[in-house]
């Protein structure tokens, strides 16, 4: 039990270390990319270089991913601070969603099907063609 907790904490330390590296790169270079994404790329390169995922990193990352919804609650509750802004742009937002969501669904499915040859083109082209 204690062993598992220590492993998970060590894994978390690794993740925080990579995150800090990413943040540091971002602030040093002023790249227009979030530091967390840079940290993720560093970790990906590290894992590819190691050729495996150590059980420490695995248990640390499983912990964060399993509780991702919990981590995101405070940020999402911030919605309540922008009700007015949302009301001002409600129509734009609704229209954009109503158009782009079905559009990207069909486009993604159709394009991927064509690219990988898993679709009979005629089974879907006419319907997408109307958009």
């Amino acid at each position: 039990m204690i062993h598992t907790i220590t492993n998970t904490l060590a894994g978390l330390l690794y993740l925080i270390l990579f995150y800090c590296l990413g943040q540091w790169t971002q602030s040093a270079t002023q790249l227009p990319v979030p530091g967390s994404i840079l940290g993720m790329l560093y970790l990906f390169i590290y894992l590819s270089w190691r050729g495996q995922v150590s059980h420490r990193i695995l248990s640390g990352s499983n912990l964060l991913i399993d509780y991702l919804s919990l981590i995101l609650i405070p940020g999402c509750v911030g919605i309540m601070t922008c009700f007015q802004l949302m009301a001002r742009d409600a129509w734009v937002i609704l229209l954009t969603l109503a158009i782009t969501l079905p559009f990207s669904f069909c486009l993604a499915a159709w394009l991927l099907g064509r690219l990988t040859g898993t679709l009979q083109p005629e089974s879907i082209t006419p319907e997408v063609g109307n958009r």
Binding site: I37, L70, I73, P74, C82, L85, L107, L112, L115
Partner: protein, 236 residues
């Protein structure tokens, strides 16, 4: 707003416990309900917390500062996505080029559409930036929006709305188009409705789910590479 519960806002641990308690409760609710975007634990939790804060009159700032420890974990959580990315690579290796090309093309088409609509309808800058990150997973949307000086809270709201509506309309739409390949379904769900779509994709099987996770992560990477560069243009 005076409130008998206002003294609670001095007790930061209580507000942190509120988040944890609501999370446990919403997971229980999620097990009872049919699985779609609306019953996702995050959706239920956020609605419950907002309801509690509105009823008790506790300002959001108090709640946010009490829950800051959770915010600190968002960055490391993004980093930890490298692990499923690395582990699922063999599953999608034959498709990776096609998936990347699909994500890039669809994203650019989307951004052009969003730019056109928001320009025609004279939207505010923060809505424009927030709309451009609407189909990406919340932690990335938060960091891209704060990088671009947008409104992260609005971005989080739009991400959630997009995720829920994508998971609701997507699968019936694909059925109508007679697309049954789980891999295509996974990519479409992961691209449009991020984590909420991913949860939906796992119902269609592990392959569909794994591909949805991969697509979600690839979309996150590509959005965070493209949107900050064109962001100033979007907001002009």
């Amino acid at each position: 707003m005076p409130s008998p519960l206002l003294s609670l806002s001095d007790a930061k641990p209580a507000l942190l416990l509120l988040t944890a308690g609501v999370f446990v409760l919403s997971n229980l609710i999620n097990k009872k309900l049919p699985c779609n975007g609306l019953s996702h634990p995050l959706t239920v939790s956020v609605l419950l917390v907002i309801a509690v804060l509105l009823v008790s009159g506790i300002p959001y700032q108090d709640y946010a500062s009490a829950n800051q420890p959770l915010d600190w974990l968002i960055g490391p959580a993004v980093v930890s996505l490298a692990v499923p990315l690395y582990r699922n690579l063999p599953i999608i290796k034959p498709w990776i080029g096609a998936i990347l090309l699909t994500v890039v093309c669809c994203l650019i088409a989307n951004l052009v559409l969003i730019w056109a609509i928001t320009t025609c309808m004279d939207a505010t800058d923060s809505s424009r930036i927030a709309l451009s990150t609407k189909s990406v997973t919340t932690p990335i949307a938060l960091s891209v929006n704060s990088l671009l000086k947008g409104n992260p809270a609005l971005a989080a709201a739009l991400v959630m709305v997009t995720g829920i509506s994508g998971a609701l309309i997507g699968p019936p739409l694909l059925k109508k188009l007679k697309i049954n390949d789980p891999r295509i379904k996974g990519v479409a769900l992961g691209f449009t409705s991020h984590a909420i779509g991913t949860q939906r994709a796992f119902q269609a099987g592990p392959v569909c789910g794994a591909i949805a996770v991969m697509t979600m992560i690839l979309t996150a990477i590509i959005v965070s590479l493209i949107v900050p560069v064109i962001g100033p243009f979007l907001a002009s």
